[in-house]
């Protein structure tokens, strides 16, 4: 009896090893070739073929919509941008309405692995404290996936199975990969709120996000185009390849640059590492002038500016983010710059959305928050307002009216 089982296992092993033996002779290139074509097929199937080097990520319709949304006045209270929405299509949430407080709010967080997320996470916790004090929220249950999609899928599954979440908030780590998990969460009958990055489904009650990556990239690219003469050189600094929100930013910028007279001398991935950024900029400066810097995220932007200082070169026209270190450097150097914004205050919105849903109030099915870059004339105001904030804080964090302000953000 033991033997026969061992035999069976042996046969299976043999089969496995046969597979190995047979396939090892296959040149490695064959399979990847196959995959490459299918990747393109997929891209085409999504109807995203367009001009430009970045056809994988460029969708003309999305680009057009986001650029247009920048000029649309949002609905909602003027002093609470986190409650504003652009062209909202409200959905009825009465099915989720329920009496009583002390709700269990579950939040599956992708990670707090970068300063932008850390800032937002503090804001979110402060907002939760307000609602806890009001008795709306009884328990705020959080799973942090540490940027691991697989773990986040499990986290969401665990929330669904625990069964006692009154609402599930998801900040997805990657758009495509979390779709099945979010769909499963929707099917559980609990209200699901997705914010920041999206998922490929519309089953959730609301999807909260600022206008988006195209707008972000375009803000900077347009600013550079306006402030630089034709033929000027622009260096694009990017963090990672393959992250959709970041790819959209570059796709928009690439599109705008290709239609302007600017010359993009290079696009480099830096991992957000200041040392690498500084080194890369320095090397470009050795080879020739760089008139403008475009960045897909503000991390390490100060290092890029310093590279110009250390090389004794004039400051470029610069696109940074609303990160304090950059804003301060901007003020010190008085360079021509823009601070693009990917609205950090969106971290408050899901909590408030959950409260609205429990109340049965209608919410936008796609809750598009405003996303306005910081321009030179607003710079001083933001700096003054955030004077005590640490250098990796984000100016448009939108938590000034919360009771924990400012200690929660200054004393991290």
């Amino acid at each position: 009896m033991r033997r026969s089982r061992a035999l069976l296992a042996g046969a299976a092993t043999a089969a496995l090893m046969f597979t190995a033996a047979c396939t090892t002779d296959t040149p490695t290139e064959t399979a990847p070739e196959g995959t490459e074509t299918t990747a393109e097929e997929t891209a085409e199937a999504e109807g995203s073929d367009d001009s430009g080097a970045n056809s994988d990520w460029f969708v003309q319709a999305d680009f057009d919509r986001e650029l247009a949304q920048r000029d649309i006045a949002p609905e909602g209270p003027a002093d609470q941008p986190w409650l504003q929405a652009i062209e909202p299509e409200f959905v009825d949430t009465s099915e989720f309405a329920s009496e009583g407080g002390d709700k269990v709010l579950c939040f599956s967080n992708a990670s707090v692995s970068n300063p932008w997320r850390v800032t937002g996470w503090i804001t979110m916790q402060q907002q939760v404290e307000v609602l806890e004090a009001e008795g709306v929220i009884g328990e705020f249950r959080v799973s942090d996936a540490a940027d691991d999609d697989n773990k986040q899928i499990s986290d969401i599954q665990a929330f669904v199975e625990a069964g006692d979440c009154d609402a599930i908030i998801v900040s997805p780590s990657t758009t495509a990969t979390l779709t099945p998990a979010v769909e499963a969460a929707c099917e559980s009958g609990k209200p699901v709120i997705v914010f920041d990055r999206g998922v490929n489904t519309d089953c959730m009650v609301t999807f909260i996000h600022p206008i988006g990556g195209y707008a972000y990239g375009a803000d900077g690219a347009e600013f550079l185009t306006e402030n630089l003469d034709e033929g000027s050189t622009v260096l694009a600094l990017r963090i990672l390849p393959g992250v959709d929100v970041l790819e959209n930013r570059w796709a928009a910028a690439d599109k705008i640059f290709s239609e302007s007279g600017l010359e993009v001398v290079g696009q480099e991935f830096t991992g957000g590492d200041a040392a690498q950024i500084k080194d890369i900029v320095t090397q470009y400066l050795q080879r020739g002038p760089v008139d403008g810097i475009w960045m897909d995220a503000g991390d390490g932007s100060v290092a890029a500016v310093e590279a110009f200082e250390d090389a004794g070169q004039p400051y470029p026209v610069f696109m940074g983010e609303d990160e304090m270190s950059f804003l301060r450097k901007w003020q010190d150097t008085e360079m021509t710059a823009i601070g693009a914004v990917y609205s950090n205050f969106q971290w408050r919105t899901p909590i408030l959305a959950a409260q609205m849903i429990w109340n049965g109030e209608e919410v936008p099915s796609e809750w598009v928050l405003p996303q306005d870059p910081i321009e030179a004339d607003e710079l001083d105001a933001y700096l003054e307002e955030n004077a005590d904030m640490p250098s990796l804080h984000y100016a448009k964090f939108g938590g000034e009216d919360l009771p924990g302000y400012p200690e929660a953000w200054t004393d991290r």
């Binding site: 707090v112 692995s113 970068n114 300063p115 997320r117 850390v118 800032t119 996470w121 503090i122 390849p241 290079g266 696009q267 480099e268 991935f269 991992g271 957000g272 590492d273 200041a274 040392a275 950024i277 500084k278 080194d279 890369i280 320095t282 090397q283 050795q286 080879r287 991390d299 390490g300 100060v302 290092a303 310093e306 200082e309 250390d310 090389a311 004794g312 070169q313 270190s325 640490p390 250098s391 990796l392 991290r412």
Partner: protein, 359 residues
Amino acid sequence: MSTSAATARAERPRLLERITASSSWTVYALLIVVFVGILVMNPSFGEPMSLMAFVKKAAPLIILAIGQYFVIVSGEFDLSVGSLVGAQVVIAARLMDGEDSMTWPVMGIMLLFGLAVGLVNGLVTTLLKVPSFITTLGMMLVLYGAIRLWTGGAPTGALTEGFRQWGRGGLFGSPGEFQVPYALLIVVVLGVLAALLMRRPYGRTLMATGNNDVAAAFSGAPVWWVRTRAFLLSGLMATVAAVLIGGYAGVTAQVGQGLEFVAITAVVLGGVVLGGGRGSVVAAMAGALTLEALFTLFNQLSLPSTIRPAVQGVIIIAAVAYAAVPRRPRRRATAEPPSSAEPSSPVDPPSRPKEPAAT
């Protein structure tokens, strides 16, 4: 047993012979090739400003390679240096918070912290007998988590100008013009000190410990302390590297990430053998310099950033494989004493280096 006295006292082999006899000569060759490549692609790289900018960027890795060298040559690994560099920069920023008066006290604290991490790594490895790969892997996780726990996830505070000058500034001239970077001076000083240290009793004991720790112990070497000191040196070097990196580029959340693998790669590229007991610190530094030069060359070639890791992988494997291949005949030649020198004692050439000269 006739000839002897003269042979035992024989003078050291000539420099050229020593360079080519060691496995590290490939790294010098590669270094020259890469530099020539860069200069061909971009002659302006040879200008003093450009070279000094390169030195500032390369200095931290070279210093990390020195630290990693000590640990590797003693037969261990230090995977925690990347995390340590990150932790140190964050500690510096948080404790200084832009106060100039705090620069020196905080640098003192960083020094102590770096030594403390090295001490823990060393003691856990030597006294608790945990393989250093695991010790330092654990330390990497602990540092990564602890530092973020302390700062709430993202670095806070700011570095002072007095701190930043070490990685950013230099002697003679003003910023934006040609300067002799402090980083260059620090690298040269540390490199010379490291090379001297390896010729000192401690260096030789370290090398012997990496080669055969039992024999070292029987010869009176406190093996645990010899190895722990290697980890202390690694912690110290990581601290210096942190000062330079922080100074060069300021604080970001990502600082230091993955540096441990780059440092180990650099050291191995320099012909230092993983497992201990073989290799020179100068070659390890050359390995680091080569790696940094390679990154620069990629940039000068306008290689798409995404494909660079692939090219880097191929070059590293090729270089290490190349260094491994021609060693065998070369070693045999030295193994075989010329017949004229000692007719009475022909040594069987070892069929494998591990168990030579039986009978």
